[in-house]
Amino acid sequence: MKIDRNNILTALSILVFFLFVWWGNHHLTAYAVRVWEDTLIFLMLAAGYNLINGVTGQFSLEPNGFVAIGAYVTAILILTPAQKESMFIIEPMVPWLAHLHMSFLPALIIGGIVTAIVGFLLGFPVFRVRGDYLAIVTLGFGLTIRVVSNNTITITNGSLGLKGLPTYTNIWWCAVWAVVAMIVIMRIVDSAFGRAMKAIRDDEDAAIAMGINTLWIKQIAFVTAAFFEGVGGGLLASLITIISPTMFTFFLTFELLIIIVVGGLGSMTGTAIATLLVVWGSELLRVVEQPMNIFGLQIPGIPGMRMVIFSILLIVIMIFAREGIMGQREFSWDWLFNKIKGKRA
């Protein structure tokens, strides 16, 4: 009975969310819609990233690599053969890819699956190490992906990148995928797998002693994250319409890291709140990079200032408010009703 109530409320709030999307699509400015699209894609990326970093406690820096893979795979699949032929001017594309062409949804899913497979294969060597080594190896992976995409000219068009991708991504694609990602990830967190993940985070040796197959559990988290990061990459590719090896740098990982740290490592609710704050905050902070005129005083725009502010923010949060907004807590309907009834959660 109670669970039914919770499920109905969840379904209702998703409906309200889609109503908002429908309303926003018609009434918001193109700029606001665009920022919402970014927000929703980042929500999906950050939720996946938090699953591996926050819930499982495996500090990895892989997102930019995974997003790049997803973006490239999706881009190659949705470009028409004619476009590919005109774009690959240094060397022609390998034939079996040049003639491949499909619609957006299968392309996204294949992008996600390819990324998940890469994540699975990468998981074996990287999960042999823990903690800080894992961070460096996955960081190296991101750089390796960039080097590889720069050099496999017959597949990725090298440093020229891929241009003129069809713009399929709209706010609906982003919204539906974000909701799917959130539901799947929340279900994993609430399942036995999720409890095993948290056990690994809290004490890996104890988890092993309890009979948890840590490699397998870490792989589940990693592959799930990889899938959604790959799909997110595909959505981004079709949103921006141009991709090149220099686009998916460590900067992207850093932004996601800030999101999950601000929201609280291990809390999906926190991730959602922090995504809103960081994406919209970063739009508002554009002001500091533009020339300003305060009381006749000319201040030239300072490019890069936003990142200085973000990095200081990250350091300050880590020193003074390590828990982030939500810590490891999650929003739940039971909590809300207890709050309303005045009971203690």
């Binding site: 500090f59 800080d132 460096i136 460590f250 300072i302 990095s311």
Partner: protein, 298 residues
């Protein structure tokens, strides 16, 4: 390929390797003492380059004064970073410290981007380092000869400090058992600051020689050599200074030789160090000199 070219490439590789080695020493010492991968260490290299650039090109100092000033200022930056960002997290989880280190790295990169702009600057190479000498028809750039000599001199000085002075003894003791050393009445924070100062000094030295080797500097230049130097530190056995130097030489020489022997792979040279790193972690995670990952010793 004849002997001349092999010899030239070897000297080239040794010189590049000693640059990696100098940076790797900083990683290994900081990790040995506080078990933190100092992500910002590669960026200290960049800081050193820009300080030296400022000294020579903007303040018109003689090159040796600019270099010395830059290395000292970079040490100071290293110490400040430790005091401001890492010290409050000494008792927090290692992941928190690591995230902070990433924040510091981003802060350095972007604040230098704001101060100096993103356009690469031409590093003024002093004439002593600019030329080349010709030994029996084999041409060696001066910089390739001087770099390893300077690196080895500083390595000797460091080993002397570590093994013959009280500070060195404190550093070695800290890497074995943090708490006991504190109980013994050693000023732990001062020793950690000294470690950061030494590491940053050597990173700045390496950065200056890097800038003379590839004289176009930009605020993101420290990332790649920093990561490769980390790979070198792991390869040598993290916690071991000699190991870091050896790891640096191995990474540098093999990077140069791979490009020389297989020119078609030249584009992949930046990815190579990570493959190396992954293989080391897979098959011998303690590295060449490291006896035990958790028990560092210099």
């Amino acid at each position: 390929m004849n002997l001349t070219i092999v010899l030239q490439q070897l000297v080239n590789g040794i010189s590049l390797g000693s640059l990696y080695g100098l940076v790797a020493i900083g990683y290994t010492m900081v990790y040995g003492v506080i078990r933190l991968i100092n992500f910002a260490h590669g960026d200290i290299m960049m800081v050193g380059m820009y300080f030296a650039f400022t000294g020579i090109a903007m303040w018109f100092l003689p090159w040796w004064a600019a270099f010395l000033l830059s290395m000292l200022a970079s040490s100071l930056v290293g110490v400040i970073i430790d005091r401001v960002a890492y010290k409050p997290l000494r008792n927090a989880s290692r992941i928190s410290a690591l995230i902070t280190a990433i924040g510091v790295s981003f802060f350095l990169e972007n604040s230098f981007l704001v101060i100096y702009g993103g356009v690469p600057k031409a590093f003024p190479v002093p004439s002593l380092f600019g030329g080349a000498i010709n030994i029996h028809g084999v041409i060696f750039p001066n910089i390739a000869i001087i770099t390893p000599i300077v690196a080895i001199i500083f390595l000797m000085i460091l080993l002397f400090i570590l093994h013959k002075t009280k500070y060195g003894m404190a550093m070695r003791a800290l890497s074995l058992d943090f708490e006991t050393v504190r109980i013994m009445g050693v000023n732990v924070d001062l020793v950690i600051s000294a470690v950061f100062a030494i590491g940053s000094f050597l990173a700045a030295l390496s950065g200056i020689f890097w800038a003379m080797r590839y004289p176009a500097i930009n605020p993101l230049i420290g990332i790649m050599p920093g990561l490769k130097a980390f790979a070198a530190a792991v390869l040598g056995g993290i916690g071991s200074v000699t190991g870091a130097a050896i790891g640096g030489f191995i990474i540098g020489i093999s990077e140069i030789l791979i490009v020389a022997l297989f020119p078609s792979l030249a584009g992949y040279k930046d990815a190579f160090a990570f493959l190396f790193l992954i293989f080391v972690l897979l098959f011998k995670p303690t590295g060449i000199m490291g006896e035990d990952l958790e028990r560092g010793r210099f």
